[in-house]
């Protein structure tokens, strides 16, 4: 640990750097030797399912939890044992955490008053933040008299006035309905473009992650699985967990065997009925292939081509539609491929009905292939 920290110090270009972070709750290790470097001005999203330790990590960065081992640096400064207020961070919570007995204005100015900032300066910053977030007409209201979206804006405003380098968001939009979520998402994105400070954003909503992030860190059980840009994560998930987690509707996974036939790799689906063989010649393997091996082939529903065009692809079959889910802009249809459930996305205009039969196909080069045992991408 020591050698790392001294070495890293020399040329740390990061806004937030986390080194070998361990954290135990009552003897249970929730975060294990976690390393994470976040660039200045970057929008980093921590994504993962419930209970994977996202909030815990954020709380560690904020200084709200005492860590078990490791080091946290913010702007090159070791803040591992600093008070939250001395870390140059601000935080926005899922439950808004507004002070219910104070007006919006007081909520915004509380931190500044505590810090002893003078009155005019408080006034200036509050009105600037209020303007930026369209809160000016609401300044004299109490939180109870605000809608969910307004409350969340106040919560963001409270972070804004503090004029810090790093913003931490803990699922700030989870409590809002879908429509508001979309709106505020755009506002947060716009805010980031205006302020250009570092933002660390926790969510379990992958759409939020994909739309907002410069980079996404996908977590599972306290370990970061993949840290990369949204595109890479979407298109080249490093393991089955990431692949399944990202994308809505979710990726289809077909169980099967990876076999070399004529020194060409083939995916043979496990199936009692209709067989399915997929040539993986153009698949960008990252590992050497030796012999046969149980794998899962992941295919995103939107990479499936429907109708005549499918015949041009290496994989093409006629299937029966079981369930149709129109989503307005497009439609998700469920069928069976080699006896396994398989969904695909089509244009709404096709007007599919359960029972319809049609041709579908996909390009194996855009699929992902995972070791069935380890779940790693092959």
């Amino acid at each position: 640990m020591t050698h790392l920290s001294t070495a890293a110090r020399a040329d740390n270009p990061y806004s937030v750097a986390i080194r070998d972070l361990d954290l135990d709750f009552d003897g249970v290790r929730v975060l294990r030797s976690l390393n994470l470097n976040i660039h200045k001005g970057e929008f980093l999203v921590l994504l993962g399912s419930s209970g994977c330790g996202k909030s815990t990590l954020l709380n560690c960065i904020a200084g709200l939890l005492d860590i078990t081992d490791g080091q946290i640096l913010i702007n090159d400064r070791d803040v591992t044992w600093e008070e939250p207020k001395d870390r140059d961070i601000a935080m926005v919570f899922q439950s808004y955490a507004l002070y219910p007995q104070m007006t919006v204005e007081k909520n915004l100015s509380f931190a500044l008053k505590v810090a002893g900032v003078n009155k005019e300066e408080i006034q200036r910053r509050v009105s600037k933040a209020a303007e930026m977030l369209h809160l000016t007409p609401l300044l004299q209201r109490k939180p109870a008299a605000l809608s969910g979206g307004q409350r969340q804006r106040v919560a963001i405003g409270r972070a804004l006035v503090r004029d810090v380098d790093v913003f931490l968001f803990d699922e700030p939009l989870s409590n809002l309905d879908a429509k508001l979520r979309t709106e505020l998402r755009v506002e947060i994105k716009r805010l980031h473009q205006q302020l250009n400070n570092t933002m660390i954003y926790v969510t379990h909503d992958q759409i939020e992650a994909l739309t907002l992030a410069d980079r996404i860190a996908i977590m599972k059980e306290g370990v970061i699985q993949q840290l990369d840009t949204p595109q890479t994560i979407y298109n080249k998930p490093v393991n089955r967990f990431v692949a399944g987690f990202i994308g809505s509707p979710g990726m289809n996974f077909l169980q099967g065997q990876l076999q070399l036939q004529d020194s060409q790799p083939w995916f043979i689906a496990d199936s009692a009925l209709a067989g399915l063989s997929v040539p993986l010649t153009h698949y960008p393997f990252c590992a050497d292939l030796t012999g046969s091996k149980a794998v899962e082939l992941g295919v995103r529903p939107e990479h499936v081509v429907v109708g005549e065009a499918a015949t041009a692809l290496p994989v093409c079959q006629e299937v029966g539609v079981e369930i149709v889910e129109p989503m307005g802009s497009d439609t998700l249809a469920w069928t069976r491929l080699a006896g396994q459930a398989f969904s695909f996305r089509t244009d709404t205009e096709l007007n599919l009905k359960p029972g319809d039969r049609l041709l579908i196909g996909f390009d194996p080069a855009r699929a992902s292939c995972f070791d069935a045992r380890s779940g790693e991408r092959i």
């Binding site: 904020a62 207020k85 007995q101 931190a111 810090a115 409270r158």
Partner: protein
């Protein structure tokens, strides 16, 4: 056409509601009778009381007994009624209630948000303490107060009430604060507020519902206390309940039931008023977090 089904259903409901009101009224009667007896007895003359008709209205209502109980009844050499004790009780109750709530709320706050080592153990002991009969610890406590030279002073009785009220107060506030979102606390810490700032500016204003419950409970407990007041308050501060006891056991040939009742009512007046005025908030306050176990 048949009677509308609507009205049939409503009729059934009406009978059900009659049953409910009937039962509630009967229960209310049972609960109210002792108070009724106290009030009417206090307004009767002794000859009328001797007739033994506990429940009949006074033939010739008079407040003489109340006046006597308040300002004339004898307790030993002095015959000043229970008024002196009334002010002593106020002197004891006000600071005790305030202090025990302050300390209880600080404890609850510290226990809910600032988990420090040993906090849970301390709290466990405190909850256990709620079950310890006072009498078991009175002697050592007397020694303790004697050693610090406080025994028999107003300070000591206030401290005693604070300490014996602490288990319940702490439990009450702890449960309440635990029901608040912890993000509130985190947000305040990030905003740079310290232990006391968070407590005074964020948490205490939020605790109003439970403070009301605490005020009610503590006022009642402390006002009604007899034993601790007798032992610790010192001769200058004996609470009203001591005088009440003297009057109730002090009698001429016949016990003056009317004066006794009046004295009893006068003694109970303060907690009664507290309940009458704030019963609504009591239930609300309990609902807001005291019952989360």
């Amino acid at each position: 056409m048949q009677p509308k089904p609507a009205s049939r259903r409503r009729t059934q409901q009406r009978y059900g509601r009659l049953g409910i009101y009937g039962f509630l009224l009967l229960s209310a009667l049972f609960f109210a009778i002792p108070l009724y007896v106290m009030i009417i007895t206090s307004m009767k003359g002794m000859p009328e009381i001797r007739l033994g008709q506990l429940f009949s209205l006074p033939g010739d209502p008079t407040f003489a007994a109340w006046i006597k109980a308040w300002s004339q009844a004898c307790t030993g050499v002095t015959c000043e009624g229970i008024q002196a004790g009334f002010f002593n009780s106020i002197k004891i109750t006000l600071p005790s209630v305030a202090l025990s709530i302050l300390i209880g709320s600080i404890n609850g706050y510290a226990l809910s948000f600032w988990r420090f080592r040993g906090a849970n153990l301390l709290f466990g002991i405190l909850v256990f303490g709620a079950f310890v009969p006072y009498q078991v610890v009175i002697y050592p406590m007397i020694i303790g107060f004697r050693e610090v030279g406080l025994y028999g002073t107003l300070t000591s009785i206030i401290l005693v009430h604070t300490m014996f009220g602490m288990p319940i107060m702490t439990l009450l506030f702890r449960n309440y604060f635990a029901s608040l979102p912890s993000e509130l606390f985190k947000a305040a810490r990030i905003d740079g507020a310290g232990f006391w700032q968070i407590f005074l500016q964020i948490m205490l204003p939020l605790a109003v519902p439970i403070i009301i419950v605490a005020v009610i409970l503590q006022t009642t407990n402390i006002w009604n206390d007899y034993l601790l007041g007798l032992i610790f308050a010192g001769s200058d501060n004996l609470p009203m309940t001591v005088q009440l006891n003297n009057i109730v056991t002090t009698t001429y040939g016949v016990r003056e039931y009317n004066v006794n009742m009046a004295a009893t009512m006068l003694t109970a007046a303060v907690p009664l008023a507290v309940y009458l005025l704030s019963g609504k908030y009591f239930v609300r306050g309990i609902a807001s977090g005291a019952v989360k176990g």
